[in-house]
């Protein structure tokens, strides 16, 4: 099939990562994933974030971070269920977009909300489980983002890399817990993300059990 695509004279169909039939997919996901950030920035610049723009920005950025992290964890289960290959190709982009929004969420908290008052931030993190849980998620994402390159994967070896990147589950759980602890009373929305996450785990566990069964059989 790929052979039938006419290569352009100056740009042969090189087997570059991300190129090929769905070469547009990753750039499209990255662009689409950054649109909410641009919209949010534009609304902030227009003074259109409501009466408490800082709280609104933190809420929106946190929600976007959680959605993207959950989506990145949905890639493998989706592949298991559908046998499609493309979800795996966008998994890393979704994860890095999630990391981007986590960073933005944390920066708005530290720089704008707390005016970089280090003592208040340290007190928040050490005294308030709600903030500690969110901060732990942020810290655990750092090694994942740092080892997201092909070079890092090669250097670590796939088995070790994979083991490290299982932390993504922990981060997503911490994200949901952080959300649950943040709401004053109604936990419907965070519970929804928790349910999706649980569903995704279930697919993976069932698949793992089946594979083990296959091996024995």
């Amino acid at each position: 099939m790929a052979a039938s695509v006419l290569p352009t004279p100056d740009k042969p169909a090189a087997p570059r990562a991300g190129a090929g039939k769905l070469g547009w997919l990753v750039p499209a996901i990255v662009t689409g994933g950054l649109v909410p950030a641009v919209v949010l920035a534009a609304r902030a610049a227009r003074g259109d974030l409501g009466a408490n723009p800082i709280a609104e920005a933190m809420n929106q950025l946190g929600l976007l971070a959680l959605v993207l992290l959950v989506l990145s964890l949905a890639a493998t289960p989706l592949q298991i269920v559908t046998a499609w290959k493309w979800p795996i190709r966008i998994r890393k982009s979704l994860g890095l977009l999630g990391f981007f929004y986590v960073c933005a969420h944390f920066l708005v908290y530290a720089v704008v909300d707390q005016s970089l008052a280090l003592r208040a931030i340290v007190e928040d993190i050490t005294k308030r489980p709600f903030i500690l849980v969110g901060f732990a998620g942020f810290v655990l994402l750092l090694p994942l983002a740092a080892t997201s390159t092909a070079r890092a994967l090669k250097w670590m070896g796939f088995a070790r890399w994979k083991r490290l990147h299982r932390l993504a589950y922990v981060v997503a759980i911490l994200g949901v817990v952080h959300f649950v602890m943040r709401v004053k009373k109604d936990v419907t929305e965070p519970a929804l993300y928790g349910a999706v996450l649980a569903g995704l785990f279930l697919i993976r566990i069932m698949n793992w059990a089946r594979e083990r069964g296959d091996k024995r059989g």
Binding site: G50, A51, N52, S115, E123, R128, P129, K185
Partner: protein
């Protein structure tokens, strides 16, 4: 001018008022939706007329009164109060209303009356989120009798010189400026004088987080966040929160001898 003490007027702060737009679009009124913008959007369903308020319990003159009549009992006065939400934001609001104490005097509490219990309208057609179980409805609040009689405590029927919009608790709400905003129960239909400390909605929902007293106190943190600072709506930088929301001179004596870390 004879010194700052004489010039102090706790009933009107000269701090910049929070714009009407913000006061009426950034609200916590869970019966009309959970997000801050929801109440303004959904308030159409709330019909503040006709409206009856019931006065009952330990009073010599129990009665039901139409809101129009009630509002003619006392001259309405404007008071500009700070409002500090338990969520660490604050506003400055020009309320229109009358002191609750004046009303209670008229109802003549009996010697058994120790507390005042308030209830919001219970009607899911007007307050649709009463169909959910976010809180136990109707919303309930309460004050100790001396708090209720304090001259700063008022029942408000308006803000910025106009009648209260639905999202702000039309047609009648409580305003207690030294307490967190959730004590300011909205759309009141019942005021009862009682012997025992009444149940209050947020306290029932999360007793560790929301006490009966709910006095603004920078030294007692909410379990999930510090109460030391607050963001005045419209500001970027936070400012220190004052004990009793800056009304300590007037109200601190009400709590003499009490451990406010326990009675939060």
């Amino acid at each position: 001018p004879s010194g700052s003490a004489a010039a102090r007027n706790p009933f009107t702060t000269d701090e910049p008022r929070t714009p009407y737009e913000d006061v009426t679009t950034y609200n916590n009124y869970y019966e009309l939706g959970l997000d801050k913008e929801d109440p303004a959007r959904n308030a159409k369903t709330l019909k503040p007329r006709p409206w009856t308020v019931v006065f009952e319990g330990e009073i010599k003159k129990p009665q039901r009164v139409d809101i129009e009549t009630l509002l003619k009992w006392f001259p309405l006065e404007e008071r500009v109060y700070r409002m500090r939400c338990v969520e660490t934001w604050s506003m400055v609001i020009p309320w229109l209303g009358f002191p609750l104490g004046k009303l209670l005097e008229r109802l003549e509490p009996t010697s058994r009356a120790k507390y005042v219990a308030f209830s919001t309208l219970m009607d899911p057609e007007q307050l649709p989120f009463q169909l959910t179980d976010v809180l136990e409805w109707p919303y309930r609040e309460g004050l100790r009798l001396d708090e209720a009689m304090h001259p700063l405590t008022m029942l408000a029927a308006g803000l910025y010189g106009k009648s209260l919009p639905g999202q702000n608790g039309a047609p009648l709400r409580l305003v207690v400026p030294w307490k967190y905003g959730f004590k300011g129960i909205k759309s009141i239909v019942r005021i009862a004088l009682v012997e025992k400390e009444p149940q209050t909605s947020w306290n029932m929902a999360a007793p560790r987080e929301y006490g009966f007293y709910a006095n603004v106190n920078p030294d007692v943190a909410h379990p999930r966040w510090s109460q030391a600072m607050e963001r005045r709506i419209g500001d970027v930088e936070k400012r220190p929160t004052l004990p009793f929301n800056g009304y300590a001179e007037e109200v601190a004596s009400l709590y003499a001898g009490m451990d406010l870390r326990m009675s939060y």
